[in-house]
Amino acid sequence: MGDEVERKDAPEPEDERPLPEEQPVGEPPRQRSGILGALRGLVLPLLALFTALVVGAFIIILTDFELMGLWASDPVAALAASWSSVTATYGALLRGSIGDPGALIGAIVTLDGDAFRRAFIPLSETIISATPLVFTGLSVALAFRVGLFNIGAEGQLYLGGLLAVIVGFSLTGLPFFIHLPLALAAGFAGGALWGFIPGLLKARTGAHEVIVTIMLNFVAYNLINWALKTPLVQREGRSDPISKIIEPSAALVPIFEGLRAHWGIVIALLAAVAVWWLLFRSTKGFEFRAVGFNPRAARYAGMSIAWSTVMSMVIAGGLAGLAGTAVILSGSGTLSPGFSPGFGFDGIVVALVGNTRPLGVVAAAFLFGALRAGATPMQSATGTPLDLVVVIQALVILFVAAPALVRAIYRIRAERVTGSEVFAKGWGS
């Protein structure tokens, strides 16, 4: 709402906009700076993580009963003990998720196979945990860019897993470069089908995608339970719901012999690049984002809101389906109920922390993957309960969801509200 004056008569540029508006002068183009923009977007999440770790430190100290007695008798010793307790816990968490720096360096220097394997086990475990989260995070983020809140990644993931495992065990005698892509495509298609339904219902009838996707999660879960009891899917000679085992030609094999991390992560990263291209470089992504930001303007510009709604949900569903596929086609190669410990729901969190940017989603997925991978080693090393990691995750979400709080703590001036604070706007509105 600045002034309207002809250029030749604007002697004092400072005076041109007397209303309180922040001018991000020369802000780089959002659609042309994936990396820069993502880095800027990561400032707040990183501060949120830091704050969560600080609060977590206090929780470590306050829940240590031995320390409590010490505070009364010898506060100085208690302070020292608190410090060492916190560093030991976070140290163990770090060693469990990234590895021992010394061992990592040693392994690279010596190139000794065994040492290499041992040193990289923590990172490998982090990658294992992060892989499905990248997919579900991308799924939620993509839908959100189109103004849709996809709570159904969990159900889409199950459907993807089911179709992938069926293709995985039922086709035999194929070379892996045909069989694996087929299984992946089936996984994508399964999730896409589960995304298509809420997308179509939204576009045709206006049924709210949040309700429909939540409900479809239950349908998916029970559908899996039923399918696993049918002779087509159930493993011979078993009475519990468990599928046949996929052919080796459909398996996502480890990248390095002896480490569990498999090629799924590569596919996940390629998917992130693809989603980034789709959203920020393609004409369809332009439509998606326009529909997400302002459906009326999109309609005015001749875009089809219904098409964008359906297509984005199909792709989002497919991505979530790939999450299930990556889990099923690696490791045991079999499907059983409850194979996902909530990857679909964690995807919402990953998308939120990752600022609904593909690169941010990858970073957030690795963060949560690392916390998850490091939790067990931390517990066995220091006796700190696993639950601390859950608390830290929850705190990260809390601080990310309350950007104003983090800004107040670190006295950061508010950026203009753009698409970045998406979740603060509320449900797919």
Partner: protein, 520 residues
Amino acid sequence: MKLELRGITKRFPGVVANRDVDLVVQPGEIHGLLGENGAGKTTLMNILYGLYQPDEGEILIDDAPVSFDGPGDAIDAGIGMVHQHFMLVPVFTVTENVMLGVEETSGPLGALDRDAARRRIVEISERHGLRIDPDAVVEDLPVGVRQRVEIVKTLYRQSNVLVLDEPSAVLTPQETEELFGIMRSLVEGGTSIVFITHKLNEVLEIADRITVLHHGQVAGTTTPDATTREDLAAMMVGRQVDLVVDKDPATPGDPVLEVRDLVVRDERGHTSVNGLSLTVRAGEILAIAGVQGNGQSELVEAIAGLRDIERGEILIDGHAYGTDPRAIYAAGVAHVPEDRMEEGLVGDFTVADNLILTSYWHPPYSKGMQLDGDAIVASANDLVEQFDVRTPSIFNPVSNLSGGNQQKVIAAREFSRPLRLIIAAQPTRGLDVGSIEYIHGRIVEKRDEGTAVLIVATEIEEVLALGDRIAVMFQGRIVDTLDPSEATSERLGLLMGGAHPEDVDVEEAELAPARTVTDG
């Protein structure tokens, strides 16, 4: 009560919204506060109302300094504000709305005393000639009456100084006249009024004194007798302004847009365009005047291919395109939508992205599925230069721009290609003099190039300034089509309000117009 603002300065990060502003409102005076959008009027009034604290300067009431920490303090000091957007609860009655916040209670349980409030409201409305039904539900009331409720609300709180923020923006000419009557009667009763506006005619008609703000500073204080429209406009904008659109007589060519017997329904299924016919020829501007909500929006959407038509036909150069906005676009139709931010622009998108909003799907902006960033940037830089869009960079979100610059972005996008027809709905709504002049100029320029132009406007001034022919729309029909020479404000106002053309003729028999009625 005498109100004085002395040396008010208010800074926001990076900008000075008000600089050393002095304003004296004498008891019983209507003080016009004139300025372009963004000149600092609203900031100044928010300081007066206690919403902002000034960085420097002071507020004096009857020569005694006061300080307001919030609107509560300002109200207690006798200052009442009627905002441009009404602050009423639609489902409450007039009485309930007026007493909201200062409820009178009776009995030990504090039951609401509606009767006492009602009596005071009746008393106030009789004293000031504010006709109002205290038991009416606000959502049933027309806009003009709602405004009266707002005024009664301030009087109920015993305000001595009334601040009216752009009060005529939502009113018909007749309602505005009524408002002015109320203002005069209030001033006779000793109330002072600060009347904020950017409309020159109104301030000249009603104000006792006029203060003009420009760039947050007082550009001058004057009286209506001592100044002219031209002088005021120059003070507001900081340079001489052409108030009359400078255009030659139209040279109409072949019909470009033909609408025949059109019937369109709105979202709720009501028939909002009801058997309307019109023709716009190449090289002429047809201006449709009408009070908002008489089917103009639906008409425009139907022509732009955004709304199904129930009956009748819309032909552009002889072709019917139905609901295919892309085909209509490709046929050389530009559409300036009614609501810039709601419809014409994606606020979170950059200026560059908004400039390709209706053309991203074809070369040179995209090849296949891929957008061509270089072509987009090159064209955006070009258009920003050509249409004088003031933005720090083409990569700024368009929502950061002023209203005038946002409209220039739309104009740049829509007018920068070969056109056959322009449909513009309220193209200058909410814009200030400088921007209006610019947009009008661009439209006339397009007309002179042979483009057919259909303008929908609620401001009579705009209709008179632009139209080569003027059609009045009422309840989904064109009730009359006039030549600008025979269209006066009064006459248009009456027609817009639903008066029958013949009745208007009787009232203005001396005009004896020879008009063409296109409506069948």
